[in-house]
């Protein structure tokens, strides 16, 4: 049997709440939301982006589901900030709610935690008519999505991402999963949500370091897909750093739109198109693995990985040094750490070979040739990879 150890989450019966939301009744929802449609035939869904729109969650769910039972999965950090109140609010709106709280942090993306979620859901009477609602960052979304994809062969799934990284990246596209020891996201599925509700106001409680890490993925979209967006980021870097709501809603919407279009064209990463989203990620995953997923935030590793990829592209003569410098200037303006930890280069290369994106034993890199355009490059010499790590 699975060892239980300390309970990583606490089930809690839904109950009527007496506390109103701080934003309850504020009539600005309609004006301040926009919608990005992810076009995936019968799996199409909406991403609603706004400020203060969290109060409309019940209506958002009811519009897209006939379920009356929500399994709300969150973590110990987000529970006290938003999820606890959201659960109460749903219960007040006649939902049957179970709130399942896992420990905050990457270590919750584990088989043992998924197992305890499955077993608790079974014990609490979850059935095929229930839905799973992830309220949290990428870890909660990936874990809850995997549990939704597999419980009773698949439940409806909704997301309320509460970190910038989850809002612009991990909540879009249907990738869900858990880690194996030493191999991130090695067990998982493609499981599209029925809807994603993004309230940028929740980022006000996000630690500054996590906000900055999310900005690394924002920069990524500009480099790989959209030169105009990159220029917008340069022009608005102070407003974005200050979390100006208007700039932030635009940034999140633009990133979701860019990613949604890529996902629509290559849902299951089979044509190679979706691979462009992995810019910087072959390096980043190795850096994260070398630090046992504890030293760097994912976005910080992505910032470093994008610098490695840009240096590699320049070294191979695929790209101008000027673009390497522009990317570096933007990342530095947002105080992203760009100096790699002191891991041996050979160790990092070995870790890259364990990446899921290795095809038939060959390392592949997503490399820019100009702003807004990348290509997947397969025939890279290990020497050049090692040099790009410097």
């Amino acid at each position: 049997m699975i060892p239980t150890g300390g309970p990583p989450f606490k089930p809690r019966a839904g109950s009527a709440a007496l506390l109103p939301f701080p934003w309850y009744g504020v009539p600005h929802v309609a004006e301040q939301t926009s919608t990005v449609r992810v076009a995936l035939a019968e799996r199409s869904y909406d991403i609603q982006i706004g400020s203060g729109n969290l109060s409309g969650l019940s209506a958002f769910l009811r519009h897209r589901s006939s379920s009356g039972h929500a399994v709300l999965v969150t973590d110990t950090t987000v529970d006290g900030l938003y999820a606890d109140q959201l659960g109460d609010e749903l219960a007040e709106q006649q939902w049957e709610v179970q709130v399942l709280v896992v420990e905050a942090g990457e270590q919750s993306k584990a088989i043992e935690v998924a197992t305890e979620l499955w077993e608790t859901m079974l014990a609490e009477g979850t059935d095929r008519q229930s839905l799973v609602l992830a309220v949290g960052g990428g870890v909660v979304g990936d874990l809850a999505g995997f549990v939704a994809a597999t419980f009773a062969r698949g439940l409806e799934f909704f997301q309320v991402p509460t970190t910038l990284l989850a809002q612009v990246d991990s909540s879009v596209g249907g990738k869900v999963g858990i880690n194996l020891p030493g191999a991130k996201n090695m067990v998982g599925a493609f499981w599209q949500p029925q809807g994603v509700l993004i309230d940028v106001d929740v980022l006000q409680t996000l630690p500054a370091r996590e906000y900055r890490a999310g900005l690394a993925e924002v920069v990524k979209y500009g480099v790989i897909l959209d030169a105009d967006f990159f220029a917008y980021l340069e022009d608005h870097r102070d407003a974005i750093q200050a979390q100006d709501p208007t700039a932030l809603r635009y940034v999140v919407e633009r990133c979701c739109r860019l990613k949604a279009d890529v996902v629509a064209a290559d849902e299951r990463e089979t044509t190679g198109l979706r691979a462009v989203l992995n810019y910087g990620h072959t390096f980043a995953h190795a850096l994260e693995a070398a630090g046992n997923y504890g030293a760097l935030l994912h976005g910080e590793a992505v910032a470093m990985g994008m610098m490695c990829a840009a240096r590699l592209a320049a070294r191979l003569g695929r790209m101008d040094q000027a673009l390497v410098d522009r990317q570096q200037a933007l990342l530095e303006a947002w105080q992203l750490p760009l100096t790699l930890p002191d891991y041996p280069g050979e160790e990092l290369v070995n870790l890259m070979y364990r990446d899921k994106k290795v095809a038939a034993g060959q390392l592949r890199f997503v490399l820019p040739d100009r702003l807004g355009h990348v290509e997947v490059v397969g025939d890279v010499r290990v020497d050049d990879v090692l040099a790009a790590l410097q």
Copy 2:
């Protein structure tokens, strides 16, 4: 971490084999195979049914996959009979092969076993270009299919079912999964194979009790979908009992065709059509659970469950007693046990409420009204259910 305990399987590197197959070179494959196409748009696939066609496995795989690496999952019983040799044969045909052997029996459909498979596959260099090949009965197919569905977010999957039950039922339709304690198939996915190769000759080594259990599902297809097929079974009951190859190939092909058509019309059990396949199964799952999945074979529980369902249908005035008697006569001719174990009726009803097919807390039964036609009935009184258990 997951406790390892005794290793439930042994990984083995693929190596060139010197032993020819017993059927190697026998030129009767083409004449004795037929193909059932499962029509699921881009997930369509073939079921090839024959006698002695196992020797064509490598070609069957190559025709449908560009992979050169097969993770062959089997159990301790089938390994020595067929899987070991098949692995050697594939290695001889230039496949890279890992054979992973789990303990025979339902207890291998468990998270701990799936976890060890995932971790061994990772350690052995399995990547997105690998395929998973299940060689065995329903347990092996369901477990290997779940691992295929989830490793690196999904690998190609092939099946060589070696029990009658797996050949006529569990290898068709894409349901894969593992059990939670007390809840069968509670964690899983819909994951269609790229191909299924059925050789009825392998049934010669199947224990008589398991063969009989498989015949229960065969009877099911006649009752729910095909009165002519039911009459064929009555007319050929001795030939079928004696495993006459011609009769057997026809039976397997007909069952696969019937199930494939249902699956094509309702792949994910969303329209209610696929529910007809659950005739007898609400009762059967409760009987299996009451015996901790150790007292009855699934097919034996299905035989008992079909008798309960038929009695319930007659009691509700939906069906003639004559059909109850015809079904009973056929099941008895094949020596299927029809007397229920001595479990309290209330316990069985409670177990039925835990079934995945419960909709909004209401028990539902698939009940025949005439031979070849069933309906899903939702408003059944517990008194009538208890009476049908007698």
